[in-house]
Symmetry: C2
């Protein structure tokens, strides 16, 4: 019997209240009783998306909702500006290409945030760009992009701004309406503290105009079908009833803590993790760190995947590794969703022990001490 600690940037561990909510008997999805649940959930989603735009729910993982953003707002041959600073930025590009949308890449060094001025300049040079695709947290590098500034850059152009907030929502602040974000895509298995299987999209009036012009083929992922049903507090296809039960519970938990406090908690855990890593003589990958997860570069010559394996085998802790060109070089410690100080301390302490066993010279407790100091800053 081991206590399992899941500290990857999705799926994340779930509050027991959410797990048990999903164990309730399934009811039919076209009943008044279920409609009342949908109503509560739809309003709760608008609250955490910080928007008065409609927020639709897909029974699909995050990539499904990313695909929906492409096929519902664009047409074959349209040009899209795609910020590529990691694996998920690249996925926007792949999705556009799969549907014959012309990708104008805005490539950013992995580990750095996109410069909002570069977005503005690309739009100035190419005012025919129909959409700008970027990420709130680029999960592969743990970089946080400045969506507020990007929103300002895009707002005066005809292009819509589409933000992948799949991992970022609830961890990094995202003021959808105040920052003029047209489509926000999110997933269930991250800050929302649910299992994988649901994804979401908020859709602005500007994006709804784009939907009217889009001619790419779609059916299951159709915004039009979803928005028409949403207006009647319904869904075009059968709702994933059990996951919706869980969503109602997790939204209630977030409201109870307060969305602002939830984001602050993530910021606190992220800062402590960064300071711990630095105190252990390690380097951070991200020059613009997200609150979702911390990408830590392993000491030269040490295989990051060996570190992860020992964390799992000896301490029953799952952290993520590097993807693509970062494979074997970094670990990504998430502090996401149902996560608090104790989890970060546990993970850092285990990391210290593993690093020392693998030959990295660091003082036992040095990382934990740095994390405690970081927490103290907030608990004055």
């Amino acid at each position: 019997m081991r206590k399992y600690l899941l500290m990857a940037p999705g799926p994340t561990s779930l509050p027991p209240q959410v797990l048990l909510a999903m164990a309730k008997p399934v009811i039919h999805h076209r009943t008044d009783e279920f409609k009342a649940i949908l109503k509560e959930v739809n309003e709760g989603l608008q609250h955490i998306f910080q928007t008065s735009n409609p927020v639709i729910t897909f029974s699909a993982s995050g990539t499904g909702a990313m695909e929906a953003a492409v096929v519902n707002t664009l047409s074959r041959g349209d040009r899209a500006l795609v910020v590529r600073g990691g694996k998920f930025g690249e996925r926007w590009g792949e999705l556009c290409e799969a549907y014959g949308v012309e990708v104008m890449p805005l490539d950013v060094e992995w580990g750095r945030a996109v410069d909002p001025a570069a977005v503005a300049s690309a739009l100035k040079k190419n005012p025919d760009i129909k959409a700008v695709f970027t990420t709130l947290c680029e999960t592969s590098t743990c970089v946080h992009n400045d969506i507020e500034a990007i929103g300002k850059a895009v707002a005066s152009y005809p292009a819509i701004l589409v933000v992948d907030a799949i991992s970022g929502l609830c961890a990094d602040d995202l003021k959808t309406d105040a920052w003029s974000v047209d489509v926000v895509v999110a997933g269930s298995q991250k800050g929302l503290m649910l299992p994988p299987g649901l994804s979401f999209a908020s859709i602005s009036a500007k994006a709804r105009e784009a939907v009217k012009k889009s001619n790419l083929p779609k059916f299951y992922l159709s915004y039009d079908k979803a928005l028409k049903s949403l207006a009647k507090t319904d869904t075009p296809f059968t709702s994933a009833v059990s996951l919706i039960y869980g969503l109602r519970e997790s939204l209630a938990l977030i409201r109870q803590e307060g969305l602002e406090n939830v984001v602050k908690r993530h910021a606190r855990l992220a800062r402590a993790t960064r300071e711990a890593a630095l105190a252990l003589g390690l380097e951070l990958l991200s020059k613009a760190p997200s609150n979702v997860a911390t990408a830590i570069i392993m000491p030269a010559g040490m295989d990051a995947d060996a570190v992860r394996k020992k964390l799992t085998r000896d301490f029953s802790i799952t952290v993520a590794g590097g993807q693509d060109k970062l494979k074997g070089r970094i670990i990504r410690v998430a502090h996401l969703g149902y996560c608090e100080e104790a989890d970060v301390i546990t993970a850092i302490s285990a990391l210290e022990m593993v690093l020392r066993q693998l030959g990295h010279a660091c003082e036992p407790g040095a990382g934990v001490a740095a994390a405690e100091k970081a927490f103290a800053h907030y608990h004055d």
Copy 2:
């Protein structure tokens, strides 16, 4: 406090074992532990699909897997023969049209099964047809199509046979390989006794050849991505971990009872429901009844939706109504998934009481008596 009886053809009620399996802590989807679960589940799916073909799992409702069957096997301008004898046959047509596939409709009177000879004759006249789309159980009319005979008709042509078994799987027998079915699409919230949110597709070698030629756009629903991952006991996108836990449990329950016995149980419940309806002086819609659900025509002048409302209000029982042109005319009593004799008796007894209250002349207990006699036939 009321005991809730869900007798609609999806979602269906769930065994407590499945509900509780889904309440287990979420683990990371790229771990050896989860891989072992996927392996068990993939093999279990092949067992209930009665196939040695790979069976892939989508985090999506059944319509997502229907869309996948179209976009992965066809190209723009291809011709497809679409059997339309109800709402779900029509959906095949809508999906094809959304992607520029030319639909050759084979229209069948609602309530009747398609004549396999008509399929053969259409293929003979149009040997360039690339795919035949039909349903095992056409849920909107509760009609069972003779897939064995249709399989024989299609096998000698280049066309692939695609069967929507979303509601039918586990209730109506489906020998995928023996009957030469190339793609079988199924959903989680039916005979599989799971919540909505997963869907499945088995893909034959003939269908995999079609996949190579298909040029319709796809990404999230790509067979190619899913098959490549499946070969490594993995998934291209994040698995719906909790639903997979539930799936493992439900597959184990089905194996325990024996797939053949599961189908026999559905046949037994269906026959009893039909005989009860006839004993109450009611007519059945389906001339080729499925084991999934029984479509009962309400007495002339009686609103079927009023019957359903009273069943819900007075007896906490959900049955389905008619769709499109059948709205208000029929009720559909499902005997699907986690369902047994007691549930059918309860539903019939409640139906008797409601019908009498609404003015239909029938003897109290007449339906129940007929059902008991039907059951006795099996319990000799």
